[in-house]
Amino acid sequence: MKKVAVVGYAQHKILPNAGALNEVELIMPVVHKVFNDLGISQDDIGFTCSGSCDYLQGAAFAFVEGLSAIQTSPPIKESHVEMDAAWALYESMLKIKMGDADTALIYGFGKSSPGNLDSIISLQMDPYYISPLWPDRVSLAALQAQILLQQKIITHDEMMATVIEARNNAANNPNALLTDHVSEDLYQADSLISSPLRGFDCPPISDGASAMVIASEDKAFEFTDNPIWIEGIDHSIESSNLGSRDLATSPTIQNAITNLNLKNINFDVAELHTQFSHEVPFLRKLLNLTNVPTNLSGGPLVGNVMMCAGLDAIGKTFQSLVRDQSDHGIAHASSGPCLQHNMVVHLERHK
């Protein structure tokens, strides 16, 4: 099977409200940025794939609008997932592995500011039994947080430390939306939105876009001296029946650990698509990352572009490995309530 490398990644500055910018105006700068970094154009791209969600901005076919940001003459090989763009990366990787393309452009975009994300996310749930009760995204996440706390898998202190660390790390991330320092006192004084989650435990409403270029073994070195290889990638989904899941663990993360043989790898860096603070210590323990620098970008707690934050975790890991000349990175993308669908990516600098 062909090996596939990440060769470029660009992220729009995360905005609280990108009102002035439509999806085209968000996507185009990041696509141009990643092309310019690599000295390439759409003509060098064999496959293009995007991730987005119509309901975020309330427009059917948001991705069709977004495609206007891309050069499509002559017509391009292109597809779209109504998922986080991390899954657009997955699809693109399959295209390269099968030999249908040597290179791929992946982009994701999301504007959460136009709508009410809480009620929109209710519509991800079972439409007969659950969404008519309009559970919001924070309350759903809180159900898992409560179980993790009760079973002492994580602690309140770990959640607080996660928030403080995320804000501190954000200072080094020029694209982060929230960079204000949070003290222990400030955290403790914050009100509970859905217990046990405070406002600080939740990600900000964010608008943005990101783009990535990946390439086959044959092409990667034409584009960059620093390809970062997708050494392993695995994803799987858990039951839609929230009440039948064991929320104290994650069988899909366990799948990835086994399938990617992660046990004996010493990771230098990790970026996790953890939208809520409790998910960070939970996943770090599951993935054996307690001593691995995690979410150096600040992660979703300092900027959470829906449909893009999973791709961003992969992109930020790529950037860390290039910048620090380190060897092994692990990235995680997620979808659905209480980490229902998880992807784990093992990135490696050396071939």
């Binding site: 076919f61 017509p75 292109e78 109504e82 899954w87 295209k95 929109i120 007969y128």
Partner: protein
């Protein structure tokens, strides 16, 4: 590239309202049939690929999350594809890519729409601020392209009626088809009310509930099963409001067809392809796509239709199943084309079987005639 083939196709019956089932039940009905046809059990399924058109049709966001249990995906990778009307076709291509990449051996893919849950026109056309009241539905969007085709090549008016009657006559031989209109003929079509000139009521697709599933597997897992080998597959996209597009004969369709012919070693599609399932939601798209896909020269497509070449007993039967004009669960409509193409070369198309079909084509398009997905399947591997 790893060889892959379709070993099972499963379809629900299509109807305006499948009120007897939930969304999960609808999708599962197609899956159960596909797995039975493929003679596999759940443990053989390595990944699931789900496709459907906009989430607003059913008001369920990212429905792979809600459907994970029904589609048997728990513990497995699942991908959700959305490429507008072409989605059923692109979903099949992506499912096959899972196998051809070598990552997976056997993939279950399923597409659906339960249009009775909402009104398609509403779901696609909320009133947005600052936008004028011009929207006239899908027919209103495509009718001007059809009028331009007619202006260019001056075909007689009855061509559209002929396609509409032919596809519905074929539907009478497909018990799963939504529209079953006994005695349908050109005259009946021509007497139905005009909707969007030049399109009459019976020249337009219905709105349907339904699901279509397929099992695609790699060469080493086929065993002694009946198989439709995937000999070529491709997708192409054009920008929506892009200067210089020819909406009547889009370059994306031309390029996509050339790509799959080259992969399959087809030099003359008109003689080498035995039959085709082409995405024809409005009657005139049959001649338009025949030209776009290189079955004939520009301006000659309507003559193939007129001469009966595309009839079930013609030399290039098109839409043997009744096509989109007879069943249109939008998200599944493309995959039905791909699956019906496979059934033909597997010899499983029953009453609408084309005798001795060995090579067939599945085609889907979507958006503003800008998204294309196609494949060639064959009874033989090379």
């Amino acid at each position: 590239m790893i060889q892959a083939g379709v070993i099972g196709v499963g379809q629900t019956n299509y109807d305006s309202k499948r009120r007897d089932v939930s969304m999960a039940g609808l999708v599962r009905e197609a899956i159960d049939k596909a797995m039975l046809a493929a003679d596999i059990e759940w443990d053989a399924v390595d990944a699931v690929v789900l496709g459907k058109a906009p989430d607003m049709f059913e008001g369920v966001i990212m429905p792979e999350l809600y459907l994970a249990d029904a589609i048997g995906a728990v513990g497995k990778p699942v991908l959700r594809v959305h490429t507008a009307g072409s989605v059923g076709g692109s979903t099949a291509v992506i499912a096959a890519s899972h196998v051809c990449s070598g990552q997976f051996k056997t993939v279950l893919t399923v597409t659906f729409e339960k249009q009775s849950e909402s009104n398609a026109t509403w779901a696609l056309s909320p009133r947005y601020p600052y936008s004028p009241h011009i929207n006239a539905g899908a027919g209103g969007y495509f009718a001007p392209f059809i009028r331009e085709y007619i202006r260019r090549y001056e075909p007689p008016e009855h061509i559209g009626w002929k396609v509409a009657a032919k596809d519905r006559q074929n539907a009478l031989k497909n018990p799963l088809a939504h529209l079953q209109i006994p005695g349908i003929d050109e005259k009946m079509v021509s007497e139905t009310p005009m909707l969007w000139e030049p399109l009459r009521y019976l020249e337009s697709c219905p709105s349907s509930d339904g699901a279509c599933a397929m099992v695609i597997t790699s060469e080493d897992r086929v065993g002694s099963r009946n198989v439709a080998w995937i000999r070529g597959m491709a997708v192409r996209s054009e920008g929506t409001l892009s200067a210089g597009r020819d909406e009547v004969n889009p370059q994306g369709g031309i390029d996509c067809a050339k790509d799959i012919y080259q992969q399959a070693g087809i030099h003359n599609p008109r003689t080498e392809i035995d039959c085709a399932e082409i995405y024809v939601p409005f009657s005139w798209y049959e001649p338009m796509w025949l030209e776009n896909l290189g079955f004939c020269d520009l301006g000659q497509g309507w003559k193939l239709t007129d001469e009966g070449v595309t009839a079930l007993d013609g030399s290039l039967p098109v839409n043997m199943s009744g096509g989109v004009l007879s069943s249109n669960p939008i998200g599944a409509s493309g995959m039905i084309r791909f699956g019906e193409a496979a059934l033909q070369v597997m010899g499983l198309a029953e009453d609408h079987q084309v005798e001795d079909a060995k090579i067939s084509m599945g085609h889907a398009y979507g958006g503003a005639a800008q998204f294309f997905a196609m494949w060639i399947v064959s009874s033989s591997k090379d």
